[in-house]
Symmetry: C3
Subunit: 259 residues, 3 copies
């Protein structure tokens, strides 16, 4: 009876506490797991990335609640996704796109208002819709009770590197982690050639030519490439922030040439 929470609500307001209370009021034996509440406000893409990196670690039947929801209170629908033997509850804004890209899945529109907290506010569906639905779902209510399957849910296309020359691909920086590592959208298993052949990766004004196995292998102040634990090529530095050293942010272009 595991319910995870991933939001952009921060940790200094009452939002997260209210959601936890609603869940425990319905399902006192729930194990609530905080994934993150410090996601960048309104950044659906960042939330999609975090979800994609965490759900594979969780057991079957886990319910993942994701609330990064700039359209709260509008006609955007609440959805329930079944994939990988787990459940995902959140707004229909593309936040589950990386999951649906990789897993067999079924998406339902959540319409069964009897599982909502009443009255439903226009601005806090985390408390009024997603938390109570997750609690009922984890407690054993079958998915079909919450609403009918839909096909026209929103799928957001997250960028994959584009071939831009004979030996060149143009990608981007997907995410910068706490340590300043730049996670690119080059999947390590799709570019295994960097292990064996000379390459150049341009990011910002820097040309990176060295792949190392772990951070400590790099020199201090050096910026290098690494096959990151998230499955992507990362630009990193040993105990330093590659993001600061290169002066680049999320969305910066990254151009890879293989020789």
């Amino acid at each position: 009876l595991i319910i995870t929470l991933t939001t952009d609500f921060g940790l200094s307001d009452h939002f997260v506490g209210a959601m936890k209370g609603v869940i425990l009021d319905i399902l006192p034996e729930a194990t609530i797991v905080d994934i993150s509440h410090e996601l960048t406000a309104f950044e659906v893409g960042e939330a999609a990335f975090i979800v994609s990196q965490t759900y594979p670690c969780f057991p079957k039947k886990t319910v993942h609640v994701v609330v990064v929801d700039p359209g709260v209170g509008t006609s955007r629908r609440p959805v329930l996704l079944e994939a990988a033997g787990q459940y995902f509850v959140g707004p229909d804004n593309g936040v589950f796109s990386i999951v649906t890209d990789h897993e067999k899945h079924k998406v339902r529109e959540i319409t069964a208002t009897r599982y909502f907290r009443q009255p439903v506010s226009y601005t806090f569906h985390g408390r009024d819709i997603f938390a109570p639905v997750a609690a009922h779902l984890a407690g054993g209510v079958p998915p079909g009770r919450f609403g009918k399957p839909i096909d026209n849910y929103l799928r957001r296309q997250f960028e994959t590197p584009q071939r831009s020359g004979k030996r060149t691909w143009t990608g981007t920086v997907l995410k910068i982690d706490r340590f300043g590592n730049l996670i690119t959208n080059f999947r390590a298993d799709q570019f295994p050639a960097v292990r064996e052949r000379p390459f150049e990766l341009w990011v910002g004004f820097e040309k990176i030519r060295r792949l190392v196995l772990n951070y400590a292998e790099g020199g201090f102040g050096e910026v290098f490439l690494i096959e990151g634990s998230a499955g992507f090529l990362e630009v990193a530095s040993n105990q330093g922030s590659a993001a600061k050293l290169l002066g680049v942010g999320v969305g910066a272009p990254a151009e890879l040439t293989l020789y």
Copy 2:
């Protein structure tokens, strides 16, 4: 056996971890729920607001521990509040005033030192008094065992809007949330007229005349009024920070005129 924690201890020190250890040492089966540890240091009013917004979501018998405690180690008393079928443990500094304003209640001074962690420090009652008392209480020790009822507990008067003209009320900004929304102290259900009649709300140098249902209904860069999920009128902006746009902070005056 739910115990919630609301503190200004931050997340980079040992304080919160120590409290959790003390609780689990006494009551290993406790479900500990982090509400927030990022409250503004020493701001009893902010803590009172967070408590008031979260306890209604929790089930009966929940024990809420609140430690925002500038007077730790002085003669200020530890108190145990019973209200709404739940328990509240913390310093007698007014932090539970919004709860006692709205619920039938009984307040006890906590005097039973046998439930304290010994020796009691002068600077960390969260670990030495409030955490162990909460654990024993959640574990089934009756409230009466901790101390006798008192009447002279501290009640802080949180501001309510004052009538300042025939059609005018002067209130204030209670809280600014993570998204920059200004939560005023105008309760939405006490000023339903804003739904139907023209109004003006002055905050900072801005005059707000439009009430919308949800954030996305407002234009980008527009500042508007909304009936917030906390039950108060909020000044907000669509995916922007009203606080930054208006340049105002907690305690700023807000003047409402109904026509």
Copy 3:
């Protein structure tokens, strides 16, 4: 079945969520306790301090996972420490030195790769080694199964004050807490004379001569000495930051003279 987590992973990435998933996948009934994820990146000494302040509050059999690990992916070993009836899992980089200084203990090198998550990445042993080992350990696998005892584990010497004159000791600032209190490395129980005799403590450009019992006893803006709840002498101020008032940081010298 309590497992605590202390890391420098921050709260805006997927790292902590992934570790929790791995633990719950192996041991769904685990009680996972967040100690802190906001430790200064790579600061082994700070992590050692936090661990030393929290483990004494926890019950026997608790498993503490500590991941502040600048050497991840190198030849630095993963270790399992048994001390105080509890378990500690983390990198062999001295992070448990304060525990081993104070408790009878046994240290094992973790070599049983069958308890690891496969494949083991070079950059995220929190997810791939420490989390699964902690879950198996909490679930009942005997410590001996994870590897053989070693003697040559890394012990970091945390500074203790040095005698620098007939009546003078030179120490340092160990940690600055959220409130700006300077926690020195003078143990309160080793310098009880400050309670009874005149003293001078030089920190930054300030000479402190007054010991108070609790923060509120000091004047606003005054900087004074206090016997802190962590067992050390602390330089503090009443509802103000001593660190800001004195302009000093971690590692600043502190010179105590007893008269």
